[in-house]
Symmetry: C2
Subunit: 197 residues, 2 copies
């Protein structure tokens, strides 16, 4: 596992592909075309290489998927950690959290892609962990904001549901994207309706 050979700290061309390269490109492919599109040969072509390389680094397709998802989950945990340490007052922190997460893109697309296959043995557990973490964070913040426990849980589910659903509608192109002018007004409406009680 020692990082090998000519460490090309200079140019743009990598002499040799690491497992991390494969995983990153796998995530990009998932974000673009979904998990079904994550196939070994096309991915290799995309990297300008043949699958002979792939099967040297990974035992098979499932292992690549698992590793890539683990990497994605790790990134998501860091995002949450950042949001946790952000604001001070819970109301501001929540609003800030909504605004912050409304501006990600790659993570969103991957999340949507994963939602499409919640029963896949490699995907289900990761997806559940990530979702549960996020909802738990929301529920805690809402409780801190004064809501009783059950109501906080319900509200957290509602908030998170509306988030996931909005991602779906965005994929259908039926709802403004984060660049269009209506978007900010909508987010503001959501905050007023769901947070400022």
């Amino acid at each position: 596992m020692a990082k090998s050979s000519t460490d090309n700290s200079g140019g743009g061309e990598k002499a040799s592909l690491t497992p991390a390269d494969w995983e990153q490109e796998a995530l990009a492919l998932i974000a673009e075309k979904g998990i079904a599109a994550l196939r070994v040969e096309p991915l290799a072509r995309r990297l300008g290489i043949t699958k002979g390389s792939f099967y040297w680094h990974f035992p098979g397709r499932d292992e690549l998927l698992s590793k890539a998802l683990a990497r994605w989950e790790q990134q998501d945990r860091q995002h949450l950690r950042l949001s946790l340490s952000a604001g001070s007052a819970p109301a501001e922190r929540l609003a800030d959290f909504v605004w912050r997460t409304s501006r990600q893109t790659l993570t969103h697309r991957i999340y949507v892609a994963l939602c499409a296959s919640p029963d896949h043995p490699c995907i289900g557990p990761v997806l559940r962990r990530v979702t549960e973490r996020r909802i738990k964070y929301l529920a805690a913040a809402l409780e801190e904001l004064g809501l009783p426990t059950t109501e906080a849980r319900h509200r957290a589910n509602l908030m998170y549901s509306s988030y996931v659903g909005y991602l779906q509608l965005q994929a259908q192109g039926l709802v403004p994207d984060k660049d269009e002018p209506d978007f900010d007004a909508y987010v503001q409406h959501v905050i007023e309706t769901l947070i400022e009680i």
Copy 2:
């Protein structure tokens, strides 16, 4: 196209499969395993028959998918029509609508499956039409309830997003199903938060 031969009005065994049978079974398969699982040979096996039959009734896989989706869209329009003619006061009608749609199952699963492939040329248009119809209905009801136009549109998007998102979380098993006790309390919370203003 004449419905043929021995019209078995009696038993349970069909002598001959109609296109409608194929379309119905296709929808069932989509609801269970997604659009990617809609393949000709497995579907034929499921019906206890070979694909020789299929290619007599349909030119190909895409035509089956289109016809099946058209059938589904038709059913969905009828559901909406029923909800429209239901209650009288807009608030009750909305609440009733939420309760009613929260109890469907097959339609939901199909909708989720379709959401997973919004870019597919056969699926995208149907999906957009259905979604837009539903949201328009919500927005109209909300406006009738007293909200100004823009706010009604935002609120309709929010309501519908929360609906779609809840379907996703249900698929992950992270949120109570319509049989479990918590479900009714959650729906009540949603109604109070999003409708009773």
